[in-house]
């Protein structure tokens, strides 16, 4: 091979790849979203003078070209494979590979609360609970707080060596439940319940949410605390779906891990008639569609995050329920409705019509349940904001 041939090959490889990928990306129709990354992809930006002046237009073009890059999914998957499989990394895109291959969060987003600030934050949190309790007490209702560990918290021993679980999360939980008790607010600490079931699979390996087992334990503990008899497991028809499971953590690492986990859903063996509306629209199914061959995610439960869901079983002899929670509540909701006449489910990250206090005053539910994860015990935003009329941004699933 002559030098000239070698030079020609260099130029052909370099510019061939650049032109092929560049032109290929432009010729192909733009994608609206990425199934792999589970996000909306940037579209061709409109030219705006202000953006040209500040350089924002250039940044938008870069995002657009990167999002619409030819074979993007393959590149992203290859990058993840190379780093996780090839280079043996255990951390990527906020996901940590724990013992036994279980995927955990990297905890980098957690902002530790200094010990000196804890009392102040706790007091401020209890002020909100006092107001909520007063509102519920005013018509003879019951307020219950169900606190639960996140997967990161419950499986903290599974982090690889070198990861130190935030000290404040361990410190705050007992103080939180002690404060609730001092303020005469009933509570359930699911950490203690889960501890008794540690041998069971309470969380998905490749998702940050709990499995139906974790959700069922929460549901039954919650109902028992409210004096309502939960359905026993043998009263439920459990269906394990054959669909491939898209775990939230697996998604962040470009589905590098096998999608072998399965989603189980439950419904009463003895059917209970009900009507259901979500965000004001009648939608009968408790589960998102899951046609054969399609992948399913945790969002299948209660059709994912919704601002407001109302399920009415028309059994006036039973109490009514208001349940406030984030996505962890979705799986619980598919069980909880069975024990109540009318049950209402709010996700205050999305619900903007009125404040929780106004909602309670309007509907006067017999039981008000606040489901809160341990990372958010002293969080007064989103589902931790009872008095605001508009929720603050809280994008976490």
């Amino acid at each position: 091979m002559s030098e000239r041939w070698e030079q020609g090959l260099y130029v052909a490889i370099f510019f061939g790849i650049a032109v092929a990928l560049g032109v290929g990306g432009l010729l192909r129709a733009d994608r609206g979203s990425s199934t792999l990354e589970q996000r909306t992809l940037a579209q061709r930006p409109a030219v705006a003078w202000a953006d040209l002046v500040t350089g924002e237009y250039g940044r938008k073009v870069e995002t657009y070209l990167s999002d619409q890059f030819l074979g993007r999914d393959t590149w992203v998957r290859s990058y993840a494979q190379l780093n996780l499989r090839g280079l043996g990394k255990v951390e990527m895109n906020g996901v940590v590979i724990g013992k036994g291959g279980v995927l955990l969060g990297d905890l980098s987003a957690h902002k530790p609360l200094a010990a000196a600030q804890t009392a102040t934050e706790l007091d401020a949190t209890m002020v909100q609970f006092d107001r909520l309790k007063a509102a519920v007490d005013s018509y003879g209702g019951t307020l219950l707080v169900v606190g639960h560990p996140t997967k990161n918290s419950f499986l903290r021993a599974d982090y690889p060596a070198g990861f130190t679980f935030p000290e404040d999360l361990s410190r705050i939980a007992p103080l939180y439940f002690a404060a609730l008790k001092r303020h005469s607010i009933a509570s359930v600490d699911m950490a203690a319940v889960f501890e008794k079931h540690r041998d069971e699979k309470l969380y998905y390996d490749t998702d940050h949410h709990w499995t139906l087992t974790g959700a069922y334990l929460t549901y039954s503990s919650m109902l028992e605390s409210l004096g309502v008899k939960p359905l026993a497991l043998d009263e439920l028809e459990l269906t394990t779906l054959p669909n491939k499971f898209v775990g939230s953590f697996n998604r962040k690492v470009a589905m590098t891990f096998p999608q072998t986990e399965k989603v189980t859903i439950a419904s009463p063996r003895v059917p209970i008639p009900y009507t259901r509306t979500q965000d004001g629209v009648v939608s009968h199914s408790l589960f998102a569609p899951h046609p054969a061959g399609a992948s399913v995610a945790y969002g299948i439960y209660d059709q994912g995050d919704r601002a407001e869901i109302v399920i009415d079983t028309n059994r006036p002899e039973l109490p009514s329920l208001l349940f406030v929670g984030d996505s962890f509540g979705n799986a619980v909701e598919t069980l909880a409705w069975t024990g109540f006449d009318e049950s209402r489910y709010l996700d205050l990250r999305h619900y903007t019509a009125m404040s929780l206090l106004d909602y309670v005053a309007k509907y006067k539910p017999d039981a008000v349940v606040i489901l809160v994860r341990d990372e958010r015990y002293l969080y007064r935003n989103g589902n931790g904001l009872f008095t605001g009329s508009a929720p603050a941004a809280d994008s976490e699933e």
């Binding site: 070698e6 020609g8 370099f14 510019f15 990928l21 560049g22 190379l82």
Partner: protein, 476 residues
């Protein structure tokens, strides 16, 4: 438009190269380059392009004035025009880069309440301003002819290959290439190969080491162990080298594609045996600029020892300040000035009697300490971090987190270590000295070609998959 962006690699560069080689003639091709450079720079905002245009205009006008006055037999007038141009360039740089620093320093020292201006600094302003100064001084000294066409001044100061972060090209080294440079298949191929090396340095090594160093430096020093702190410092030592030398490789490669021979910026600085040698190998174009336009005009070393010491300290304080408008950068510059003065006036030739590995270790110690000062946002932060590295305050020697970093980034650390050694030139020398058959030559060529192709493909995967990481030297 950074070289490691999708926009540059897959749209701008192929398009610019395609149009450039399709247009015949030097004037037409220079026009293409100028237009491409304008688009390239405007990508960061038209406001920045306006600042560049003002700078080019001022330097063009001053250059013409210098030439006209000098050829008209008015050397004093030419000097006045030079001083005016220098003042204008320094004022432009100062207004965007140092005004806030000066005001806050004056407020702190003098108890004043001056408003702190917060102008958005045009990217690359330190680089194109230095090239503007080079243009004026070289024209004044008669080392290179004035450019009568303002577009040629614009091409020199605004060439997209160098405008964002250098190498800083002296006008006397560049002017001939405006009219006469050799575009060829060989140059395009060499440029492509060099570009791929730089891209891989940035994407594969600097990015990971940057994540590691950023995380460790963000950790409160109270939580760092001695080994952890050292790992952070070493990671940054690797990051800044592969980031900036990677950028320089790409810049030199892009320039080569269009026929330009840009000056080298790095020559394996981490093999140095002294701090003086380190700075002969690190950011060479900046060192050359300061030597040519500051150190020598101050008298250089052809003066008394005391004045020479003053000159060294002035140059290094300015070098520090050039990197950023904070006292940490000034301290970093003075730190090197003091070290170089010690090497020159105290240690002298005695260093040659010290075992080379010891000299190398001491040099690297000085360099790593320097990078800690450079990386730290405050002087207090730098001293606290260095205290941990020194084992002060009863810190643990090692902690599990440090071991985790060592394990997590072992590949990048090892590759970084190997790639910072001059193994490639060494292997090339051995290869060239050996008797080799045609088959062996072809196999070697194909092997290098395959490795280059693989590096390009893997780098693309990193570029597409990771959040865009700007080059460290863009902020200077």
């Amino acid at each position: 438009m950074p070289f490691n962006s999708v926009t540059f690699l897959f749209a701008f560069l192929p398009l610019a190269a395609g149009v450039y080689f399709a247009v015949p003639g030097r004037r037409g091709r220079n026009g293409v380059l100028l237009a491409a450079s304008a688009v390239f720079y405007a990508y960061g905002g038209l406001n920045s392009l306006l600042v560049l245009a003002i700078s080019i205009t001022v330097n063009y006008a001053c250059g013409m004035a210098i030439d006209s006055l000098r050829s008209g037999g008015r050397p004093a007038g030419a000097k006045t025009a030079l001083v005016a141009g220098v003042v204008a360039n320094v004022a432009l740089l100062a207004s965007f880069k140092y005004l806030g620093f000066l005001a806050s320093s004056a407020n702190a020292v003098g108890g004043l309440h001056l408003p702190i201006p917060s102008l958005i600094m045009p990217i690359g302003v330190s680089f194109f301003t230095f090239e503007g100064l080079s243009y004026l001084v070289d024209v004044y000294r008669g080392r290179a002819p004035v450019q009568r066409n303002p577009l040629d001044v614009a091409l020199y100061m605004g060439l997209f290959a160098t405008i964002l972060a250098g190498p800083i090209v002296r006008y006397s080294d560049f002017h001939a290439q405006i009219r006469d440079r050799g575009e060829s298949l060989e140059n395009v191929a060499m440029g492509a190969r060099r570009f791929i090396v730089g891209l891989a340095k940035k994407a594969l090594i600097a990015g990971a080491l940057g994540t590691m160093s950023t995380t460790i430096f963000a950790t409160p020093t109270a939580q760092l162990s001695v080994v952890g702190a050292w790992l952070g410092a070493l990671a940054f030592t690797g990051q800044i080298y592969f980031d900036f030398s990677g950028y320089s490789d790409m810049a030199i490669g892009v320039g080569r594609m269009f026929g330009f021979k840009l000056p080298e910026n790095f020559n394996y600085p981490y093999v140095s045996q002294s701090v003086t040698e380190f700075w002969r190998r690190w950011h060479m174009s900046l060192g050359t600029w300061f030597r040519e336009y500051v150190y020598i005009p101050l008298g250089g070393n052809r003066v008394t020892k005391l004045v020479n010491l003053r000159n060294i300290l002035i140059v290094w304080a300015l070098t520090g300040l050039w990197h950023g408008a904070t006292w940490s950068f000034v301290l970093w510059g003075v730190y090197y000035g003091v070290l170089m003065a010690i090497e020159k006036f105290v240690v002298g030739a005695a260093a040659d009697r010290v075992w080379r590995p010891v000299r190398h270790a001491l040099t690297m110690l000085a360099v790593v300490v320097g990078w800690v000062i450079f990386k730290s946002e405050t002087m207090g932060g730098a001293f606290a971090y260095l205290g941990v590295m020194a084992g002060l305050g009863g810190r643990a020697l090692v902690d599990p987190r440090a071991l985790y970093y060592l394990s997590q980034y072992r590949f990048e650390l090892v590759v970084g270590l190997v790639a910072s050694l001059p193994l490639v030139p060494f292997a090339r020398t051995l290869w060239e000295r050996s008797d080799r058959s045609t088959v062996a030559q072809n196999v070697a060529r194909l092997g290098v070609l395959a490795v280059s192709g693989a590096l390009l493909v893997v780098s693309i995967a990193y570029i597409v998959s990771t959040t865009f990481a700007p080059f460290l030297y863009f902020k200077f």
